[in-house]
Amino acid sequence: MSKLSKLERFADAPGDTMKTTTCYMCACRCGIRVWLKDGKVRYIQGNPDHPVNKGVICAKGSAGIKHLYSPARLTQPLRRVGPRGSGQFETITWEQALQQAEDWLRPIRERDPNKLAFFTGRDQSQALTGWWASQFGTHNYAAHGGFCSVNMAAGGIYSIGGSFWEFGEPDWEHSQLLMLFGVAEDHDSNPLKIGLARMKQRGAKVVSVNPVRTGYSAIADQWVPVRPGTDGLLILALLHELLRAGKIDLQFLSRYTNAIWLVIDDEDHPDHGLFARDSDGRPLCFDTATGAVASAMNVDVQGALKGRHALDDGTKVVPVMQLIVTRYLDPKYAPAAVADRVGLTAQAIEQLAADLAEVAFEQTIEIETEWVDWAGRKHDRFVGRPVSFHAMRGISAHANGFQTCRALHLLQMVLGAVDCPGGYRYKPPFPKPIPPHPKPGRSTGPNSPSSGPPLGFPQGPEDLLVDEDDQPLRIDKAFSWDYPLAAHGLMHLVIRNAWAGDPYPIDTLMMFMANMSWNSAMNTTETIDMLTDTDANGDYKIPHIIYTDAFASEMTEYADLVLPDTTYLERHDAISLLDRPIGDADGAGDSIRQPVVPPLGQSRPFQDVLLEIGSRLGLPGMVDEAGNAKYPGGYPDYIVNHERAPGIGTLAGWRGADGDKSGRGEVNPKQLSHYVDNGCFWYGELEENQRYFKMANRDYLNWAKEMGFIAAAEQIILQLYSEPLAKFVRAADGRGDHLAPASHRQRIKQYLDPLPDWTAPFGWDEESIEDYPLSAITQRPMHMYHSWGGHNTWLRQLTSRNVLYVHHQTAADLGLDDGAMAWIESINGRVKVRIQCMQGVSPNTVWTWNAIGKKKGAWRMSKDSPEANEGFLLNHLIGEMLPDKQWGNADPVTGQAAWYDLRVRLRPVGDDEQGAIK
């Protein structure tokens, strides 16, 4: 009987039970309410009380129901019985699976723990997985940040002690001009959409710098179609214009940055390029009040921003600001000089600079709230410059991305627009001290934990993970002279290096939720060959592969042991302040997941399995003195009871025996039920007087110390000029105790400039630009961004095939009709694609949706599916190594995968070459 046949009132609740939890359909961690009916998920809605999404929910979030019940779910442990790639497995019990893992891992730990490479992909439990790796004793650990956005994180952390996304956000309520750089359809998803709508409703202006006009760029008030890889040059041209006009917030720079610090500018001095410091190690400035050099840390100092000065011993020194002025006023950064290269007119660049200056300096806003600065001085208001910036992978995923991100922060700083009303705002626990902590840990030998967490932030050459011959200690060569500040590791080089035995062979590759044989691999075809390659004895060059995933992805069939994970709706999780928190600029936050339905089949939460493997191996911290599992209750047991430092645990909320402490406090056995009662999140809101200038706000800094975010309540001085980088340049100059090897000196000096500079991506010489004139980039559609959901029944109805988008004029010039087939060719190979013409793409750029094309039969989809027949990957055209095979196709500072440096040409498909997409 149709329910719509009469005018009755509908009174049915969406289900019989509602449980709150945290979404995991992408990386944004929105709060959700999950309605169950007869034990099955009926409806997922946004949690209106949640600080991340405030009640809204995106396409991915609503499609979670089809994620849970996907035909692609893995429901039993599998052991490979045919050759790798054949898809032939036997089902085994969990006991057999765990025994197998133990049998492989125990001898590794007893001999050389680094023979285990443990790399996790879309892992939201890195506080656990990184700790597990260090307890096992391998420093070969990372998550997916190295091929995602480590440049964005590291560039910000080393400059302003924070970055975008989890680290900070535009002041949505006060900003009058927001410039987005390289922000595709997400990063982050719902908060950005909520914020953009809010800004537009207020009549504020949004500018999008992006070669493609879709998504956010489509609703921007101004679209700036920059050439991929040249954003850094555009930013430095904007800086040039602001300096030329003197539109610089000198007061902000003096108060909050190292603009007045003196840099040793003396080629004959052993510390040339480092800061001049007093005997206590405090940086110096030239005090104009006394006409003498003084500690830049003195409260009352009147530091000079310009000029050239000398220390008592005659050492020549110069303020950072003078270096900046000298560097960027160079005519090579003038708009007219960079215009052709960035693909814009000089006038357009000049206008952007004029708009920034107009809003920053003519539309100053004030919030009348009394606050106290780091030195105890009272202020009666927060004064702000309402220009803000947000940037993501479009500037991050280039070999020059680290310096481009640094340049963007430099721009924010000279405008005085960091953590002020209307500007970029930190999200607690950020800002963090600069240079950041901790330093990367290393293996200490058999049967021993590592010296510290595997990922960290080197402060100079002495912190590198290299041996006495300067060779990399890590399998991915992170923290070596190749990629010194590889703060997130280089997952994209693990399979290649393990296969090549470079720097050494490994025994077991353990991975989680990372499709490294397909859309997460650079050079997909050869990566598959590496996974299946054998030595002279017929043994696989990568002997053992353990893979954990909830779905039968392309990666599954190359594993020897497959462990079926649950989805996010079937387990506990912690989104921790120790990892990637959920707060906003007005408060700190963390959250949990709770199981809303039981695990499907034999699937088990990966985190439970990891802790069980750890206790079977007797890893320190995972067993008690008697050798029994320390967390027999699995991950939820760990979440509540594990302490990283006394009183500091995975979760910040409801600590202490009575649950009345936040941040620091004893373990509370009832902590998780408090979270559940509060919608599965905790949020600690800042007082009005703590909300701006957090890097120098006494009440904020005291609170942050109390919470355990920072070690001391001291001003965090923003770093225009980066001394850790200067230390590497010094080593490459042949100065100091840790000299760079001769093979790396030129590279280090060129790319680790302590002031951000723009360098052309690798291989962009005139000849290759002529041969491959177009840039090629990808993005994922909003309904799939950061999701593990290309197989999702509903989401794939929205996108199940991809085309190559080409500017009308570019296609016409090449004799390509709209809808024609074409070869897209790079130095690494070619793929046959269908093109579609559009206006909203820079004429020098082509693009497509990523991760739509699927391997035939993968994800348990029909071999006739459009994804397997009308989808393609650009990954085939992207080398994981540069053509010389010496360096990775990666940023030489951080190792970030340079996906978007790809250059291509298009060629019509000949009459004899027709047929299906390859």
Binding site: S2, K3, L4, S5, L7, R9, D12, A13, P14, R42, Y43, G46, G55, V56, C58, A59, K60, I65, N190, K193, I194, L196, A197, R198, K200, R213, G215, A218, I219, D221, Q222, L242, R244, A245, G246, K247, S254, V299, D300, V301, G303, L305, K306, M321, E350, Q351, L352, A353, A354, D355, W794, R796, Q797, L798, M838, Q839, G840, D864, S865, P866
Partner: protein
């Protein structure tokens, strides 16, 4: 063949803001999820090799040209609950009907014979035929939400409105000039879709706002002493 009510007490409908719609499909999938398990469900999905299904709400992205300038427009499309709904008058069985109380156009599946005349009559492509169920399906404005006492008051809006991250969808009574949606339409000069066809759609679209022109001049040169200033910490 099926009569429309002569008047309706209210005219419930959607106001869709094309200025902030980013084309994320949040509305479409939330609609699919709610209605698949709700009073108008199920909304069947076709097979694996041909991924398609019944959707009450679809989002399209177009490039549009105005006076030589191109822009990208994201355009959500669903039933407009027309005052003069040809899909109802064309219905031979009375399956399609318009509620006199609030103007919502619905399909009584028990009476629907799947003849598809209504989908031919609708110029907006708002009706979706379910092959597997043999009936016509369409947007109900979430009749099982909007006055459902078991839902929290804030949730008594269509699922698409509740989900929209960009605040681009609004729901209310467009017959009441004092309603929030009517005021929004007046303020933003909301428009009917293809008014020349005469179906008097209830839903309104808010056009993208005009962009303020960028500044026209480059910055002037600084005075030579601009960097001489000194500030304390």
């Amino acid at each position: 063949m099926t009569d429309l009510p002569t008047t309706t007490t209210r005219r419930l409908g959607l106001v869709i803001d094309l200025d902030t719609c980013v084309g994320c499909h949040a509305c479409a999938v939330s609609c699919k999820e709610w209605n698949d398990g709700g009073a108008a469900g199920p909304l069947p999905d076709s097979n694996d090799a041909k991924p398609d299904g019944v959707w009450f709400n679809r989002v399209h992205s177009y490039e549009v040209e105005r006076e030589g300038t191109f822009s990208t427009l994201n355009f959500p499309r669903s039933c407009l609950h027309c005052e003069d709904a040809a899909c109802v008058t064309v219905c031979p069985t009375g399956a399609s009907f318009k509620r006199a109380a609030d103007g919502i156009v619905l399909v009584d599946e028990d009476k629907c014979i799947g003849c598809k005349l209504c989908s031919w009559a609708c110029p907006y492509g708002a009706r979706e035929y379910s092959e597997s169920r043999g009936v016509m399906q369409k947007c109900t404005l979430c009749v099982d939400r909007i006055d459902n006492p078991s839902l929290a008051e804030a949730d008594r809006v269509p699922a698409c409105v509740a989900s929209c991250p960009a605040d681009a969808r609004h729901f209310g009574d467009l017959s009441d000039p004092d309603s929030a949606v009517s005021k929004l339409v007046a303020e933003r000069e909301g428009v009917d879709l293809m008014p020349e066809l005469g179906y008097k759609p209830t839903n309104k679209y808010l056009p993208p706002r005009q962009v303020p022109p960028p500044s026209q001049s480059a910055l002037p040169e600084a005075t030579p002493d601009w960097l001489d200033q000194v500030f304390g910490r």
